[in-house]
Subunit: 222 residues, 2 copies
DNA sequence: TCCTTCTTTGATCAATCTGTGAACTTGGTT
DNA sequence: AACCAAGTTCACAGATTGATCAAAGAAGGA
């Protein structure tokens, strides 16, 4: 992974989903897709993306419901896709916590523009650039880190891995989940890879920064 | 979650399924139906409903099997429909992970009451990942536990066992049922295994956390 | 292209957990 | 009270899982 923001697309029409995904990937975003409400919620909860692109009309339950569930714990920027310029849909969508909307049919270009706008706004928000925990501090805009006040050099993977833990305190992830969410790998990749980078992170940020849960995986140290 | 919970009904008799669905829809639930075991599992996986109403006798494979598969990844509240007031059916159903049961013939009114009761219970800790009972608290996302405020280390098996009891308060399970539901073993494994882990759990979470029912098995302490 | 740095992977060793039997204790019954 | 069945405790061998390391492979810059 990288500084490329992660985006979850929740859209039941495969053609639109694929088109959007392709375009966004070309823009350098990290894109994941869900095709209905429930799996959308699950995806967002698991992935913790930087932004969600959400169809208003979905099987399972609709986009507004998804939006509400997503926002329950903490704010994730949401852009709604609405079929028509229906004002009431729109108000509902924004009321549910969407940050912006775009009406179908839309040009990919327009969507990308909105995404950048929303991300810029979200990033301007306070606390976006710094992650702290114990003696560790990461600056996500500069991708630098310090341990007990001492600057440490972190490689891209190490930084993303550490940042992932800092963004999900208290949660334990399996190696496979980490490979999917931090690396973006489909699955089946070598699990030793995770171990190696955990080792590197521990060496640089302190042995207790990451906690091992035997038989399960890793989580942020308590 | 919306004020309209989604319910999956798995029932092979069309008359019963229709009657139940009608009544539940009248109550404002969002109802989906499957008519046999395999499609029931598929429905639940796809729909991720708030609750499942499950017939014990089904074509394909029976309700217990469905229940087990459903619960494999995460807990979904289940209410079992049993044809007769057969005690062994009942225990088995609860052993497989059902939250409540109701014997046919039942009044729609009774079913609705149970559904509300189960949903209330389930919502007490809505996905927050926290299970509480007396001085014990488990965090299912971090797989950590505390006893009277003191953090305790639980191994994977111990944690799963304790969590199982917390998710099924008031229900007593035989050792074999525990081996099947917590361990996932087919059957016939050593019953001392359960005892050993019960012992470990008691040592860590207090001797009264698990209650022994002589000649039957174990349940959450009252 | 070559060189440097980072990532991935397999092998090996160490730590931890699990399952099991035997001895011992408790509870229920006659 | 004596007896039998059931539950508890304990220790340890075997199995799993994690840590560490070295080296090959990939990516990127000079």
């Amino acid at each position: 992974m990288s500084d490329h923001p992660t985006i979850a697309v929740v859209e039941d029409e495969p053609a639109i989903a694929a088109a959007v995904a392709t375009r966004l990937r070309a823009e350098g975003f990290n894109v994941h897709i869900a095709v209905d409400g429930p799996s959308g919620v699950a995806l967002v909860e698991q992935l913790q993306p930087d932004l969600v692109v959400l169809d208003l009309m979905l099987p399972g339950f609709d986009g507004i419901e998804v939006c509400r569930r997503i926002q329950s714990d903490r704010h994730v920027p949401v852009i709604m896709l609405t079929a028509r310029g229906n004002e009431s849909d729109l108000v509902l969508g924004l009321g549910a916590g969407a940050d912006d909307y775009i009406t179908k049919p839309f040009s990919p270009r327009a969507l990308v523009a909105r995404i950048h706008a929303v991300l810029r706004r979200a990033h301007a928000a306070p606390g976006s650039g710094r992650l702290r925990h114990r003696g560790v501090e990461l600056d996500t805009s500069g991708r630098t880190g310090t341990h007990d006040g001492v600057a440490v050099h972190l490689t891209v993977t190490e930084f993303d891995l550490a940042a992932w833990f800092l963004r999900h305190p208290g949660v334990v992830f399996t190696r496979e989940q980490l490979l999917q969410s931090v690396w973006g790998y489909p699955d089946g990749s070598g699990e030793r890879t995770v171990d190696s980078h955990i080792q590197a992170v521990r060496r640089k940020l302190g042995p207790d920064f990451v906690r091992t849960v035997h038989g399960v995986g890793y989580g942020l140290g308590q």
